[in-house]
């Protein structure tokens, strides 16, 4: 599991420092702190960013909104973001609201509020609302990552790293080459959210990353994955092999 990369766009050093401290304390990665619009764009394109925290007013200009508008226009470039503001100016809000998905946090805020806002931003951005705070799910799945809530903070796992997923009741065991952990999500949801071409059911309880398959032993109903992991193959899910042949 990796930490979440946060880009902070905030012109006041005291505030950005306070924010950095809170986020670092909750195991978030700060990839950079931008003081103005140009810096923000450079940092955004130079670093892998998962979430952006944007102050609406940079040097008394609503450049924060401009930044959000800019990254919103570029297809597939946009990331979840949270606006910070101390103004309740209606006009600013009406403008900011157009950069969907829109989430904001009023200053001053406490630790819990910023963490909540970040989680909300991720949920809204990937259109999987009411996940992190409900009792039966703790993972949002994007095209590249799984965002998992561990205690107070978010973590992520690259989908590419996953070898296979073992489903057990309401839980899923995620097995990567390096580690193994449990997330809370139902089978129907996880199969709907994962890319069907990459992740295939091989058994009632197994979803396998097809890129990681090394060998299929039909006689023993076994699939050997990278790193020697063995997964059961049940008769009713054998069809996926045909697709594999076509691909190879």
């Amino acid at each position: 599991m990796d930490n979440i990369n946060v880009l902070i766009i905030e012109d006041t050093p005291e505030q950005s420092d306070a924010l950095s401290n809170v986020l670092l304390a909750n195991k978030y990665n700060i990839v950079g702190v931008a003081r103005n619009y140009t810096d923000a764009l450079t940092l955004f394109y130079q670093n892998p960013v998962d979430i952006i925290v944007i102050d609406v007013f940079l040097n008394e200009k609503p450049d924060g909104i401009t930044f959000a508008e800019t990254i919103n226009i570029v297809p597939n470039a946009s990331k979840p973001f949270v606006f910070l503001t101390s103004s309740q100016d209606r006009q600013i809000f009406e403008r900011a609201k157009l950069t969907k998905p829109f989430s904001f946090l009023m200053k001053p805020f406490n630790e819990l509020e910023i963490l909540y806002a970040l989680e909300m931003a991720v949920e809204k951005f990937y259109e999987q609302t009411n996940v992190f705070l409900s009792e039966d799910q703790d993972t949002v799945i994007s095209n590249d990552y799984m965002f998992i809530k561990k205690k107070n903070a978010l973590k992520k796992v690259s989908l590419q790293d996953i070898l296979y997923i073992e489903v057990e009741d309401r839980y899923c065991n995620i097995i990567t080459e390096k580690e193994k952990f449990v997330i809370l999500i139902s089978l129907t949801k996880i199969s709907a959210l994962l890319d069907k071409n990459k992740f295939t059911r091989t058994h009632r309880n197994y979803i396998v990353n097809t890129d990681k398959i090394e060998e299929i032993i039909l006689a023993d109903n076994l699939i050997i994955l990278k790193g020697g992991h063995k997964v059961n193959l049940s008769y009713s899910y054998k069809d996926f092999i045909k697709k594999m042949n076509i691909l190879s």
Binding site: D89, L112, Y116, N130, L133, S134
Partner: protein, 581 residues
């Protein structure tokens, strides 16, 4: 010379035919029959009208209604009658060819077919087709004399005679004319006019054959008879004939007398015509006068009409104006009332605002003042190096700052709400997390008073509200709860699952509590702020006001349950987020 005479005779004989045919039209027998028919076919209004006009000799109308009858009804018998009417009508209007085609349309079964033949004969005679005429008249003659057709056989004989005369078949002409004469002389009521023409016909017959001796007596007979009748035409013809006869005999004196007599009749005829014309003209003039009068009256009527209309419209306009005036006045009075009540309300609100400002400014001033004195103490403590007191003073300072900040925050939100500038956007909100976040800010305060905090809000309740206004509400209520709670007590937030659409949140403390009166005062839906009865503890009331309005804006409800010295339950309910998967 004889040739010239002959021409005159021809004309005379033709005119005699016309007269005889006219007398023929009053066929009473036939008229009675068609009247009976009309009674039998009362429903055929067209036929009724046609026969009525036929009897009255209004030929144009007869033609119209008979045609309608033919077109509308399929009754063949009536159709025959109608064709007959049309035939007769056309004859009277001298449209002989149309008359003939009409008469040919009548079926042979028609009871009065002899009359048809007779008319056809007359048409042929009129068109100088004498042989055809003879054929038709012979057809009529074949019938027995005593039939019910209502025509006089003498006239048939006369017409036959005239036809033969024109064809120069004198013996036959003589035979028929005499037959006619015999019959006419036998009649009880002699028709002198037709007798005169008959005499003249006979005279002409002989005269054409140069049998002057036989001709002259008849001319004389015609002449003497003509003196007894009033028909000027006949008188003139008779005297003219006499004149021609005398002239041929060389007796010019007598001829001259007859000629003059003839001229005289002609004149009197002309005079009569003139008199008629004059009468006609007078009649026309009178009619024109009447017409003029009528038109004048019409104009006068129109004038009256327009006058009446203008009167009517002007009264209507005035009435409308009056009603409009009354309405406008009523509106004005109403508006004045509304404005008055609005003014009262505004005054009241203004007073509230003034009061608020005075309270707020007092509070802020005292807060800042406290901070100032505290800071002086702090400086003094630092100078005297009394470090043990520093910690306590700093805590005190932060408490005062917090209080002032929350007051300012409330004030700001209240102002935004009042000026409708508050940004408001509903979203799905996880209530448990929000309560936790609020608590996080009050941890030091709770710790100071050693109050236990319990967040028992269901982790699965998501409500659909504006996050910031919810925070303001919860902050204020928690602030109040802490304020009114004694040390070492407990404050708990929990949800009640009651109905499916709303989530109920309860904030319970075990503090001072309040009386029902206070509750009522707090919940009263006016914008007045609660009076400061206990200046130390009870605040501006601004927080409560704000809470009420924010909850209302979030389509929630607010209730208070409290007992003095036992504690208070603030019960809020908010709409749940609609679950869609």
């Amino acid at each position: 010379m004889p040739k010239f005479n002959f021409l005159i005779f021809l004309i005379i004989s033709l005119s005699s035919f016309l007269l005889s045919s006219q007398s023929q039209s009053t066929n009473k027998l036939f008229n009675d029959v068609i009247q009976k028919k009309a009674k039998n076919f009362k429903k055929e209004t067209n036929f009724n009208k046609a026969q009525d006009y036929f009897i009255k000799k209004n030929w144009d109308s007869t033609l119209i209604y008979s045609l309608k009858q033919i077109n509308s009804s399929k009754n063949k018998e009536l159709a025959d009658y109608c064709h007959f009417f049309r035939g007769c009508g056309h004859i009277k209007l001298k449209l002989y060819k149309e008359a003939r085609t009409e008469l040919h349309l009548i079926s042979k079964k028609f009871i009065y077919y002899p009359l048809v033949n007779k008319n056809l004969g007359q048409i042929s005679l009129e068109l100088k087709e004498f042989e055809k005429a003879i054929y038709y008249f012979k057809e009529v003659e074949k019938l027995p004399i005593t039939n019910n057709q209502g025509y006089k056989i003498s006239i048939i004989y006369e017409n036959l005679g005239i036809c033969y005369l024109h064809l120069n078949q004198f013996p036959k002409a003589e035979e028929y004319l005499f037959k006619s004469l015999q019959i006419q002389e036998k009649e009880k009521e002699k028709d002198p006019v037709s007798l005169i023409s008959l005499y003249m016909d006979i005279a002409n017959l002989y005269y054409v054959q140069y049998k002057d001796a036989q001709a002259i007596p008849y001319f004389k007979k015609a002449y003497t008879l003509s003196k007894k009748v009033k028909d000027f035409d006949k008188k003139r013809d008779a005297s003219k004939n006499m004149a021609v006869v005398e002239e041929n005999r060389g007796n010019f004196k007598k001829a001259l007398i007859y000629r003059k007599e003839s001229e005289q009749w002609k004149d009197s005829l002309n005079n009569q015509n003139k008199v008629w014309a004059l009468a006609d003209y007078e009649k026309k003039y009178a009619v024109a006068q009447k017409q003029k009068q009528i038109s004048v009256l019409k104009v006068a009527n129109k004038l009256k009409d327009t006058q009446r209309n203008t009167m009517f419209f002007s009264t209507l306009g005035l009435l409308l104006l009056l009603v409009g005036g009354v309405y406008v006045y009523g509106q004005k009075v109403k508006n004045a009332k509304i404005i008055l009540t609005q003014k009262e309300k505004l005054d009241e609100l203004n007073a509230t605002k003034d009061q608020l400002f005075s309270i707020v400014s007092h509070d802020l001033r005292s807060s800042v003042n406290a901070l100032k004195t505290s800071n002086t103490k702090l400086t003094y403590s630092l100078e005297t190096k009394n470090y043990s007191e520093l910690d306590q003073l700093l805590h005190q300072n932060s408490a005062i700052a917090n209080g002032a900040y929350s007051l300012l925050d409330n004030l700001l939100h209240w102002a935004l709400l009042q000026t409708k500038q508050l940004y408001f956007s509903k979203d799905s909100v996880h209530l448990h997390s929000i309560v936790q976040q609020i608590e996080h800010n009050y941890k030091p305060l709770l710790h100071d008073k050693s109050i236990a905090f319990e967040n028992a809000v269901s982790k699965n309740s998501f409500i659909f509200v504006d996050l910031d206004s919810l925070k303001i509400v919860l902050r204020n209520l928690l602030d109040n709860a802490i304020k009114f709670s004694p040390e070492n007590s407990k404050i708990s937030f929990y949800t009640l699952e009651t109905n499916s659409n709303f989530c109920q949140l309860v904030i319970q403390d075990y503090g001072l509590g309040m009386s029902q009166n206070t509750i009522n005062e707090l919940l009263e839906d006016n914008e007045l702020l609660a009076k400061k009865s206990n200046s130390e503890i009870i605040g501006t009331g601004l927080g409560m006001q704000l809470c009420k309005q924010m909850i209302k804006k979030n389509s929630g409800t607010f209730a208070i349950e409290s007992e003095l010295n036992k504690g208070t339950k603030m019960i809020l309910s908010f709409p749940k987020t609609e679950q869609n998967g």
